[in-house]
């Protein structure tokens, strides 16, 4: 490998010195941002795995008309509820703003740790409590069956235990707010001398933007689910029409957070893709400043005023729809800029196709399809037909579920040698990618086609559509391929962590701080005496 020259042999001794015996107590009470990151990683991937199993069960149920796995639709509804809630609240947001933010932010800005390490520990504890509470869904007698949206009055009237949903949201929400305060402070005040605003990694900019969104919008969701809890258990009537409340208020409050939440996931994910592409194409970020100003900050500025595009048929006034159709189309411009920036970074690069770069290329393709299928949705007249059909799950799995997962898995492969000091097996990495990429396209392409035919979503059965049974079956086969891919990914990580070839501090030959200045894995405190950077330092300075 041409990057061998960049290895520094002294690292091995450095790493051995900090190696300690495993102690569970130290892991639980840790305040080291890298260990907190690992705790987030384990929790997030656990949620991913269980929610993925739910998806397998649902796809199997749908593989034939009539009852297949269960004869009870409410069991299916509980799987669907858990799949959605756990994937978004337990997997994607914590993986990106918990795991990657914790691992990368202090390292990339040259800091010893985050600004408030104890608050950081609190964040990860709250997150784990949320994960445990969510997993209790499978042991309590009346599990929630309210979908991750939890719309009243159904969530108030149902026999299912809505509180397990609302308290999971509250725990995750407090965790996010604490994390937001922590990381904004860290990014603003703890950058090493020389890491100026104009030289920050794209991932740092994107994380900063994501946490600004979290801090503004999470409290809104928190208050919405609190009012919902009061309605159900204490007899208030904020949203209960039986006593004069309005379900539409909840729908608006819910999406007022949950649409920006898409950007909380999207921004760090595309930030990771920027890091991967810059490193593997050895290139500068194309139009770095404009991408940050117009792209990242454009998304932050517009992200809060597009939520009502989830509600075009909910019964909101036409003037509100008018504004949101307009803003929704406009926000595709900064998102498009971020996408074009990635292509520009490839331009005249020198691309090496290791596994993380394969995932980045996969991201480009999947996100492009997801973004373009969003345009018909933005058009309210077409949306009326497409919404709440299979088209929507097809579209949003492309645009956020699977493309963001390519970023998360690719990002994990990218950080892997830094975290473990070892290299994963490249062949296993490639096999995992191919299975994943083929599987997701089979499943969700057919999902979208079934939606155009009018198949409503969240249906336990589809007696009216015997003609699409074959498509359901192909989609199910696709989901098994994804599962197989995920297993290969997991095996490659476990194998790499224990038996992988040892690597030095910079196996990728990156110019970014965490690779050039910190050993693999970095010791507590990361950089010892701090980081001194030359004036012409740039995390993307490959030209010199």
């Amino acid at each position: 490998m041409s990057t061998q020259a960049l290895l520094e042999p002294s690292d091995t001794a450095e790493v051995a010195a900090v190696k300690q015996r495993f102690s569970l107590k130290e892991w639980i009470f840790t305040t080291d941002h890298k260990r907190v990151a690992v705790l987030y990683m384990i929790g997030a991937f656990a949620a991913f795995f269980v929610a993925g199993l739910m998806a397998m069960l649902m796809r199997t149920e749908l593989a034939s008309l009539g009852p297949t796995v269960t004869a009870d639709p409410s069991t299916y509804n509980t799987w669907l509820y858990f799949h959605g809630a756990a994937m978004i609240l337990g997997y994607q947001i914590p993986a990106l703003t918990g795991f990657f933010a914790n691992y990368y932010v202090p390292l990339m800005i040259g800091a010893k740790d985050v600004a408030f390490p104890r608050v950081n520990a609190l964040s990860v504890w709250l997150f784990w409590m949320g994960i445990i509470l969510a997993l209790l869904t499978f042991v309590i007698p009346d599990p929630p069956d309210i979908m991750w949206t939890g719309y009243p009055p159904y969530s108030i009237l149902t026999g299912g235990n809505t509180a397990f949903y609302t308290f999971t949201v509250l725990l995750m929400g407090f965790s996010s707010i604490a994390g937001g305060v922590n990381f904004l402070t860290t990014i603003i005040y703890m950058r090493a001398p020389g890491v100026t605003w104009g030289k920050m990694n794209m991932f740092i900019w994107c994380t900063l933007a994501a946490f600004i969104i979290q801090i503004i919008f999470v409290p809104v969701l928190g208050s919405a689910v609190t009012m919902l809890t009061f309605d159900k258990y204490l007899g208030t009537s904020f949203f209960n029409p039986a006593a004069g409340g309005s379900p539409l208020i909840y729908e608006n409050l819910f999406w007022f957070y949950s649409h920006p939440a898409v950007y909380v996931i999207f921004l760090p994910a595309i930030g990771l893709i920027y890091e991967i592409i810059a490193t593997f194409a050895r290139n500068r970020i194309f139009n770095y400043k404009k991408i940050v100003y117009y792209g990242v900050m454009g998304v932050v500025g517009l992200g809060g005023i597009v939520w009502a595009h989830h509600l075009y048929v909910a019964g909101i006034p036409n003037w509100m729809i008018l504004i949101h159709v307009f803003m929704t189309l406009i926000i595709s411009v900064p998102v498009g800029l971020l996408m074009i920036g990635l292509l520009g970074t490839l331009y005249k690069g020198s691309i090496h196709y290791a596994t993380p770069m394969l995932y980045a290329a996969g991201f480009l393709f999947l996100f492009l399809i997801g973004g373009l299928t969003g345009i018909p949705n933005a058009m309210s007249s077409i949306y009326i037909h497409l919404t709440d059909t299979y088209w929507m799950p097809g579209h949003f799995h492309y645009v956020m579920a699977i493309s963001m997962t390519t970023a998360i898995i690719g990002g994990t492969y990218y950080v892997f040698p830094k975290m473990t000091g070892r290299m994963y097996n490249e062949t296993l990495g490639r096999i995992g990618f191919i299975l994943f990429f083929v599987g997701v396209n089979i499943t969700f392409m057919f999902t979208m086609i079934m939606g155009v035919k009018g198949m409503p979503r969240r249906y336990y059965d589809y007696q009216q559509f015997p003609e699409i049974e074959w498509m359901q079956q192909i989609a199910t086969v696709g989901s098994y391929i994804i599962f197989l891919g995920a297993l290969v990914v997991l095996i490659s990580w476990l194998h790499g962590a224990f038996y992988g070839r040892k690597v030095g501090r910079n196996p990728w030959g990156s110019r970014s701080l965490e690779w050039t200045h910190a050993p693999s894995p970095p010791p507590p405190g990361n950089y010892g005496d701090g980081v001194k950077l030359p004036d012409d330092w740039n995390p993307y300075g490959y030209g010199k």
Binding site: A71, D145, P153, P247, R284, G315, L337, I375, M379, D388
Partner: protein, 316 residues
């Protein structure tokens, strides 16, 4: 996309294809550059990176062009939306639609009521939409219309059927266990047939449905009961073959001894006519052990309930 059966639906389809066309062009364009860059600038062919800062002109022109494209889409798309969601034309047929777990009821003037949506061909229809319990959504894919029914408020939609036939009508907003069974039909017939139906002189059954006692002979109570069992939504929760759905199966139910919970206390009852009629009106009064109190009060009158009981008696 399968063909639309309303005037506005045809407009929606052409908009869909135009937008899909634009997206396809953009897709091909971007994917071409993407694949070209990914291939051309691989390390073996391009060992030294170009180290380009960027290109302000390119960036700003991209910004400008994309804003123009989305503005054009907005103006054009909003026009289509206004047509669909605007005021219904004067003289439209008014129908009141009510959703409840898990049944649709359509009320016409002159006291005519139906669980299938019967519509005249070629005449604008204005639907006032209500819900008795939770949020539902009225969706007829072939008409390209969808609107949530929100409890506590009135919503509306209108369209003009442009094809006769039978079309599926779904609930598109998640409404609990029976969501995927909250299905009925929309039947579009000629205006003469429709008027005869409205006056109560003619029955209209959806194509493909069991020809219910089409022969002129009197229907027996059990046959009527079977029809009601299907059309009033009972079948969403109660099976006829003994399998447990949301509610107890009707098979062998009549005359059976069941343990029920009345005001928090368990007691044993026999499922007889009195019990069933009471449960139809007050479903939460005596709930069979092992089931949730989910059943909504029945929209049927006592005579109809008795017909359903006759039907139950046949399920041994």
């Amino acid at each position: 996309m399968f063909s639309a059966a309303t005037l506005t639906g045809k407009e929606v389809d052409s908009a869909f294809w135009v937008i899909t066309g634009i997206c396809a062009v953009l897709f091909v364009l971007i994917i071409f550059f993407m694949l070209f860059f990914l291939y051309r600038y691989r390390r073996s062919r391009s060992p030294v990176p170009g180290d380009i800062e960027g290109n302000a002109t390119l960036e700003l022109s991209f910004l400008g062009i994309s804003i123009v494209i989305v503005l054009a889409m907005f103006l054009w798309g909003w026009d289509g939306y206004r047509m669909i969601r605007g005021q219904a034309p004067e003289g439209s047929l008014e129908v009141k639609a009510t959703g409840q777990m898990w049944l649709w009821t359509f009320e016409y003037g002159q006291g005519r009521q139906s669980n299938t949506l019967i519509l005249p061909y070629g005449k604008p229809v204005s639907i006032r939409l209500f819900s008795n319990d939770v949020i539902h959504s009225l969706y007829v894919p072939a008409f390209r219309v969808k609107q949530d029914a929100v409890p506590g408020s009135e919503k509306d939609l209108w369209f003009t059927p442009d094809e006769t036939g039978t079309f599926d009508l779904f609930c598109a907003e998640y409404c609990g266990t029976g969501h995927s069974a909250m299905i009925t039909k929309a039947v579009v017939v000629g205006e003469a047939d429709f008027n005869a139906w409205l006056a109560g002189k003619k029955e209209i059954t959806p194509a493909g449905a069991a020809p219910a006692a089409a022969a002129k002979g009197e229907k027996t109570g059990a046959e009527k009961g079977r029809e009601l069992f299907q059309s009033k939504g009972c079948s969403a929760c109660h099976s006829t073959d003994g399998s447990k759905l949301i509610g107890p199966s009707f098979k062998g139910l009549f005359g059976k001894k069941e343990t029920v919970v009345t005001a928090g206390k368990e007691r044993e009852i026999t499922v007889d006519e009195a019990y069933i009629i009471k449960s139809e009106h007050e479903p939460a009064a005596d709930v069979v052990v092992g089931f949730q109190p989910l059943m909504p009060p029945s929209p049927m009158n006592d005579e109809e309930i008795k017909a359903v009981i006759e039907f139950m008696k046949t399920l041994k």
